[in-house]
């Protein structure tokens, strides 16, 4: 996990940030222009959060910040200073899959899987807001995420299944 740390810490223009990621306090010195997505991946080594575009269109980078879903490529790491972040790595508890993860797996809601962490985090937030979504509401809720492989049918199915599971 050393990544580019050594170099980073010596540079003068760098700033420190600290945040809680999946319950663990983390801090580092980084270039101010570092995006949250790159901080999570390159500095913390949490590569489950993916980077898919430069324009905030794909949603592959979706994480939960202070209880809200955000696109971590749209936020500088310094803006997340002091924040609580949840990433895909933080969903499974004690080796138990989160019901959304289970539902994506069982319903074949993924192919290459690169979009999957983003969809799962978005669904996580969506189901917190609305534990009983209709298909239409699910579709609207994930319309900011893009998948190039699946044609979306199974993703919708997975989220609806997850909602059922979570009620149990």
């Amino acid at each position: 996990m050393a990544r580019k740390k050594q170099l980073l810490e010596t540079a003068e223009t760098y700033v420190s940030v600290s945040m809680k990621v999946n319950g663990v306090p983390c801090s580092a010195k980084i270039e101010p222009r570092t995006l949250l997505v790159h901080f999570l991946r390159d500095v913390l080594g949490l590569t489950g959060t993916h980077w898919g575009c430069d324009t905030g269109n794909c949603g592959a980078c979706t994480v939960i910040m202070n209880g809200k879903s955000v696109k971590s490529c749209n936020i500088f790491a310094v803006q997340a200073d002091g924040a609580e972040i949840i990433t895909i790595e933080g969903l499974a508890k004690d080796g138990q899959l989160h019901p959304i993860q289970e539902a994506f797996w069982e319903n074949h809601g993924l192919q290459c899987g690169f979009c999957t962490p983003g969809f799962i985090m978005q669904a996580y937030w969506l189901l917190q807001q609305n534990p009983n979504p209709t298909e239409e509401e699910v579709r609207r809720g994930i319309s900011g995420n893009i998948c190039r492989c699946t044609g979306y049918q199974n993703i919708v199915k997975a989220i609806l299944t997850a909602a059922e599971k979570m009620k149990r």
Binding site: R3, L7, G48, H50, C58, W105, I146, T150, N154
Partner: protein, 758 residues
């Protein structure tokens, strides 16, 4: 059909579990201590002479370790068919993504900043952006050899005579756009020197052995010095078939001795990566009064852009499939592959077939309309059936499910309600329609040699490790192979482990493309399994003294059919080890092929996949916006190995087909791509993906592993023509160009006087 324990069941993919928890490591997820970051400086001109490259300022930039140019590349031309592509440009740049220099630095920021400090002086040249002007040959040349990279003509029968005797003739010119793969993971990888001193490249790709060969050839490295590993990749669709970051990574590690990482931004990926060939297709098609197709005369021009890539093969696929899945006695095909400065086109799911299918399926619909025939009926009157001779006078020996697919389409409720749907108007400005299309494409690499090896290792605790070089690009091949292996080796699925795509550990299983990886690897696996079972039985004979013909394998044991004695696989492993017989088995399979007909590379194929599609569209005649409401796909699939994987792949391909049909508009103006990010190049979001229904037509391909066919590509091919035919049904207007963007459709509606709300 025979029932299997694992094959044919909707088992959740093993690899999907890791993906759902964020544990899978994709090429972009590899890091190492002390690694450098690579950044490419790319051309800003579509066509220019390079006068000089000055890297001195970049070299002085803090954090920069090295800057490379063409001078560092021993053999600076590569390519699968024709070595026309430079690793780093020397004399000229030929499209705006062309690589000119490569920076290696301690951080990605330093690498990027330094790349901007490289001073390249160019002399702009006239941009070759029009294929028709390009072929005339008196203007600028993209390559010394001229702008026509390949041309050919194939004729059978006599089209002119057939035209004289025809009842109807339809002639049109079609254009299809440059589609961008837009896989969600852009090109990425990491290189390092492994414990055996090999330069090791972990990167995206579709064929580790082929990538290795190109790295070795361009950098003049011996085979044993290079190792290529392809982990699960974040989507490919053909777009990772050509070299992207691999040679750059190898070069940095070779020259600096340090690990190196690259991960392209979306913009850099969109500009530099390969695209689907733009096509210009003129077709003159004739039929008799019963709708029997008599002749088809076709002229195809594919724009391959700056380099050939896999263009010659793409052209072949276009030629082979431009007559659709039909028996047409007289054909005449003229085809050209043309260089321009527009982009760089190469492989994309469907490989030339989506372009020509749009043309022929629009033609057939137009003929049906002229004759007053039902669109499905006319197709059924002309489709090939097993045992027929195809347009190239080739006997179709493989399974053919197209007639079945069309019959089922004819009985589908959406088709039965076709006329009611058209008459229903919720709003005065909305028109609805339902259209159909058929599709065909050869799978396997046709008449080109294509063979692969799969290895099986029996572990000491009685499990199996399957070793192959297939790459997991999202299609589920790894999981499918595991299911097949569990059945062939008669064991529980959890006792199968797959080791894939590492040239130091897995044998060459050829390239993962042309929808046939499952077919090829599956057949090689069958041979390896037979070998392995022989070994297991040998161990049984040694242990029990019973003859081999008494024994067979069953659920983790070798069992004697006469005495009932059994030997577990783990005991068998111990015996094989002790006796020095070895616990490994290999199987090689060579895909059967035909002799190519003159003027082609790989026509005809022995096996074809087929599909039919029905599309229901809603057109807003005031804006030209098309909404695909529902899509029904009927792919001829052979035996379905895993229904979930199968349906998912077809749906995903179909969504790309919708993008191709109405949405994905790569705007290239005078060689400059204007749609360079996902904010301007729009791919289907969930709002564009309609309800889909996949109805597999299960035919059995006798030669496939357990009867499976490839199906990776067929889902995309019939979609654009089905949508275009539905638009025609809805509005009376036929659009001859995809994507059918609102502007294009609106213009056509207006010309036809069809844009008045009523």
């Amino acid at each position: 059909m025979q029932q299997f324990r694992w094959v044919g069941r909707p088992i959740p993919r093993l690899d999907a579990l890791d993906k759902a928890v964020g544990r899978t490591k994709y090429p972009s997820d590899y890091y190492m201590d002390n690694m450098l970051w690579g950044k490419v400086l790319r051309s800003k001109y579509p066509h220019a002479k390079i006068l000089s490259i000055d890297v001195s300022k970049a070299l002085k930039h803090p954090g920069v370790v090295a800057v490379f140019t063409h001078k560092d590349i021993p053999n600076n031309r590569f390519g699968l068919f024709h070595k026309d592509r430079p690793v780093l440009c020397d004399d000229k740049v030929r499209y705006i993504g062309d690589p000119v220099a490569l920076v290696a630095a301690e951080t990605p920021e330093a690498a990027e900043d330094a790349a901007n400090l490289i001073d390249v002086r160019y002399e702009p040249l006239p941009v070759v952006d029009d294929v028709f002007k390009a072929v005339e040959g008196d203007g600028a040349k993209v390559h010394e050899r001229g702008n026509v990279a390949r041309q050919t003509r194939i004729t059978f029968g006599d089209v002119e005579e057939a035209f004289d005797n025809a009842e109807v003739i339809v002639e049109n010119t079609y254009r299809t756009g440059a589609q961008i793969h837009a896989y969600l993971e852009t090109e990425a990888g990491l290189s390092y020197i492994d414990e055996k001193g090999r330069i090791t490249i972990v990167s995206c790709g579709q064929s580790p052995y082929r990538d290795k060969k190109e790295i070795c050839e361009t950098l003049a490295l011996p085979e044993e010095k290079v190792r290529v590993i392809i982990p699960p990749v974040g989507g490919a669709f053909g777009g990772k078939d050509d070299i992207s970051v691999q040679i750059f990574l190898a070069l940095i590690t070779l020259k600096t001795g340090r690990p190196a990482k690259m991960f392209l931004s979306r913009e850099e990926s969109t500009i530099s990566s390969t695209k689907r060939h733009m096509a210009y297709i003129t077709m003159k098609t004739a039929a008799d009064k019963n709708g029997k197709l008599l002749a088809n005369q076709t002229e195809i021009i594919l724009d391959t852009g700056a380099y050939e890539g896999l263009g010659p093969a793409v052209l072949d696929v276009a030629i082979e499939n431009c007559n659709g899945p039909y028996k047409i006695p007289n054909i005449d095909i003229k085809a050209k592959l043309v260089y321009t400065n527009n982009y760089f086109a190469s492989a994309f799911r469907g490989f030339g077939a989506p372009q020509v299918m749009f043309a022929i399926e629009s033609q057939v619909d137009a003929i049906a309309e002229k004759l007053g025939l039902d669109p499905i009926e006319i197709r059924l009157r002309n489709v090939v059936r097993r045992g027929d001779y195809g347009v190239f006078r080739n006997k179709i020996e493989g399974s053919v499910g197209i007639a079945d697919a069309l019959e089922k389409a004819r009985m589908h409720e959406l088709w039965l309600r076709r006329d009611d749907i058209r008459k229903t108007r919720h709003r005065p400005w909305i028109r609805q329609g339902v259209g159909v299309a058929a599709a065909v494409k050869g799978y396997t690499i046709g008449a080109l040699p294509d063979k692969g090896v799969v290895g099986i290792e029996l572990t000491t605790d009685g499990r199996f490790i399957i070793k192959l070089s297939s790459t997991e690009i999202g299609q589920g091949v790894v999981a499918a192979i595991a299911q097949i292996a569990a059945d062939m080796l008669s064991c529980h699925l959890k006792n199968i482990e797959i080791k894939a795509a590492d040239t130091s550990q897995t044998p060459d299983t050829s390239v993962t493309s042309a929808s046939r990886q499952l077919y090829l690897a599956g057949n090689a696996l069958r041979k390896a399994s037979e070998e392995m079972i022989k070994k297991l039985i040998t161990a049984f004979s040694i242990a029990t003294g019973e003859p081999a013909y008494n024994a067979s394998v069953s659920d983790g044991y070798v069992v004697s059919t006469s005495t009932g004695r059994r030997l577990s696989y783990s005991e068998a492993a111990r015996i094989l080890e002790e006796k020095g017989i070895g616990r490994e088995a290999f199987g090689e399979y060579e895909v059967p092929r035909t002799t190519p007909i003159p003027g082609t590379l790989e026509i005809p194929h022995l096996f074809y996949m087929y599909a039919a599609a029905i599309a229901h569209v809603e057109v807003n005649i005031l804006t030209g916006v098309v909404k695909v409401k529902k899509l029904v796909l009927l792919p001829d699939a052979g035996r379905v190995i895993n229904p979930q994987t199968f349906t998912g792949q077809v749906e995903g391909a179909a969504a790309q087909g919708i993008g191709y049909a109405v949405l994905e508009d790569a705007k290239i103006e005078q060689g400059i791509l204007r749609t360079i990010n996902l904010s301007t190049y729009l791919i289907p979001s969930i709002k564009d993906a309609p309800a889909m229904e996949v109805i597999p037509i299960e035919t059995t391909e006798d030669t496939g592993p357990l009867g499976a066919k490839g199906v990776g590509e067929i889902g995309i091919i019939p979609v654009a023509p089905a949508v275009a035919n539905a638009i025609k049904h809805a509005t009376g207007v036929r659009v001859l160009e995809v994507p059918i963007t609102p502007e294009r459709l609106y213009r056509r509606l207006k010309e036809a006087g069809q844009n008045t709300p009523r």
